[in-house]
């Protein structure tokens, strides 16, 4: 089978039904090698079911696909896969180091203790390496889960809500870890409903709702192009009407000006014109349809 194909995930029309409950209707996805792919959707959209199908924990009712070049569920793909489940629990009677050692053995890796400790260091658990997992907080268990997922140099890491139990500092650390993975050419499939998190790290995203993928692409492709600029200015006696004349219609509310037709590449010129007119510019904010707005639009359209 292929191992160096451009896509690490290729699935077509995957569907999953649990008894009478339809969890997934049509999942068609392509995740490229070396990218961080965000998988977004509201609660109950079928995200975790999709992840389980990819990880081979459930079998699709219809459709087909490949993971790392192998058919879904193939054990050979799992040798190069890292996985952090949404419901992250590890053997609470083992120490953190023992959990990592167990997983190293399960993937057939001969890993030295210092490598295990290095993995724990990456997720900030080095000091607790010898402690039993049962004594860990939820956030620490999630960190351990991340270390387990990163073990053995995987080519693809599937993370299902990897920061759900982490504090803001922890989330920042995870973002850094994800960027580090991308720099090393590791692909990341990030399942999350935290839009800000996805916006900050993902190269491409897919939005799934009611079991269907409704959008797939880069964030600008999905969120849409620039939609004007917001400027906060203070006049210096001279009216700004003339300076703003060639930038289309605008609205003004005290110091705040919103020019909806100004494209991003004209913002520097607008600022220069305002300054030339004697205004003091305090803030410039390019306006665009946010991912959140687009997400709500897409998921509510389908929900209606």
């Amino acid at each position: 089978m292929q191992t160096d194909c451009a896509n690490v995930v290729d699935v077509e029309h995957l569907a999953k039904q649990f008894g009478h409950v339809v969890a997934l209707v049509d999942l068609t996805l392509h995740v490229r090698k070396g990218e961080i792919f965000g998988f977004l959707g509201p609660n109950g959209a079928g995200k975790t079911t999709s992840v389980k199908l990819l990880a081979g924990l459930a079998r699709p009712s219809a459709g087909s696909g490949t993971l790392l070049g192998y058919p879904l569920g193939d054990r050979r793909a799992r040798r190069r896969l890292g996985y952090l489940p949404e419901l992250f629990r590890y053997h609470d009677w083992l120490t953190a180091r023992e959990v990592l050692a167990l997983h190293a053995r399960l993937i057939g890796e001969r890993v030295h203790v210092r490598d295990l400790d290095a993995a724990l260091q990456t997720v900030g658990l080095r000091a607790r390496a010898g402690d039993r997992v049962g004594t860990f907080s939820k956030g620490m268990q999630q960190r351990l889960g991340l270390a387990v997922a990163l073990l053995g140099n995987p080519e693809l890491v599937i993370l299902d809500e990897p920061t759900s139990a982490l504090d803001p500092a922890g989330r920042l650390e995870v973002r850094e870890i994800l960027r580090g993975l991308r720099d090393r050419g590791v692909s990341v499939f990030l399942n999350s409903h935290l839009l800000t998190e996805v916006e900050k790290v993902c190269d491409r995203i897919a939005i799934v709702t009611r079991g269907r993928v409704v959008a797939q692409g880069t964030i600008p492709e999905i969120a849409g192009a620039s939609a004007g600029v917001r400027v906060r200015v203070r006049e210096n006696g001279t009216p700004l009407t003339q300076a703003l004349a060639e930038y289309g219609p605008y609205t003004r509310d005290g110091e705040h000006i919103f020019a909806p037709e100004v494209h991003a590449d004209r913002i520097p010129a607008l600022v220069a014109a305002l300054v030339a007119a004697g205004a003091q510019v305090y803030a410039v904010e390019p306006a665009s349809t946010t991912l959140e707005e687009r997400f709500l639009q897409l998921t509510q359209e389908r929900g209606a």
Binding site: K52, R78, L81, Y83
Partner: protein, 282 residues
């Protein structure tokens, strides 16, 4: 598979199952040992002497009763250890990251099954051997075929382990435990019904009992173990007198083919459990 088997054994030790069972069973063996020692030093009762032959006879009967109760204990231990080992791991999510590793579900199940079977068999054999040893030390009595009896007892525990594991591939720990215990009791009653059917020459009742033993051969293995604890003279006396031996004795053990059937049954149930687990969505 070896990794999972080692992990399962480590869990039983770390969670103090082994230590708990050791302490509780040691207390049981010590207590019965004291009883047998006391019995052996009973030289007179109700104004008449108690002979050594009488002590040995009483010891053999009491040992069978202890074995009967122990067979229940063993079955419960097998069920309550085997039923949660898979279903709890599934329910809590502990198994998810393990299943995402490149090993088959069959290997996971086999690892757990082998480890549990070893523990249950070792528990049966070690406890039984200690009991026999203490009885021998206290009274000088040795059952007719102690090793064979323990082997059959261990097999009955392995049967219940395999059955509980099969159930746990699809049911919760509690559900699997309840079903396994009820099935064990039904089959134990089936064994008694089989004996009653034989005594009254009633083919229907006898076959019903045999059928339950084929479906879950835990009682067949118990009866095989029981027969090897019964002194030959006692069996002959009961057979000659044509009396119903009661639920604690048997004059007609299961045929040798039942041993072959039981081994095949364990393999078949293990394969069925592997198939059931492999097809389960998590």
């Amino acid at each position: 598979m070896i990794e999972i088997a080692a992990l399962t054994l480590k869990e039983l030790v770390r969670r103090r199952f082994v230590a708990g069972a050791f302490v509780a069973t040691a207390a049981l063996v010590a207590l019965t040992g004291w009883g047998f020692f006391y019995l052996n030093h009973l030289h007179e009762a109700r104004g008449r002497p108690v002979t050594h032959l009488e002590v040995l006879t009483m010891t053999s009967v009491l040992l069978i009763l202890i074995a009967y109760l122990f067979s229940f204990l063993l079955a419960m231990a097998a069920v309550f250890i085997a039923a949660p080992t898979l279903s709890n791991d599934i329910e809590t999510g502990v198994l998810l990251p393990v299943l995402a590793r490149p090993l088959s579900r069959g290997a996971i199940l086999a690892g757990k099954g082998v480890a549990l079977a070893i523990v249950i068999a070792a528990y049966a054999i070690l406890t039984g051997a200690c009991e026999f040893a203490i009885v021998n030390a206290a009274t000088g009595y040795v059952p007719p075929a102690p090793a064979a009896s323990l082997a059959y007892l261990a097999l009955s525990g392995i049967v219940m382990t395999a059955f509980a594991l099969l159930l746990s591939t699809r049911m919760s720990a509690l559900g699997a435990s309840i079903v396994a215990v009820v099935a064990f009791i039904i089959v134990r009653l089936g064994g008694i019904a089989q004996n009653v059917g034989m005594y009254y020459d009633n083919e229907t009742v006898r076959h019903a009992g045999t059928l339950t033993q084929l479906l879950l051969p835990s009682d067949a293995m118990w009866q095989s173990a029981l027969f090897r604890l019964e002194p030959a003279g006692m069996v002959a006396a009961m057979s000659d007198a044509h009396v119903w031996p009661g639920p604690f004795f048997t004059t007609a053990p299961p045929p040798p083919a039942m041993l072959v059937w039981t081994c095949a049954w364990i393999v078949a149930v293990a394969l069925l459990a592997a198939r059931s687990f492999a097809l389960r969505d998590l």
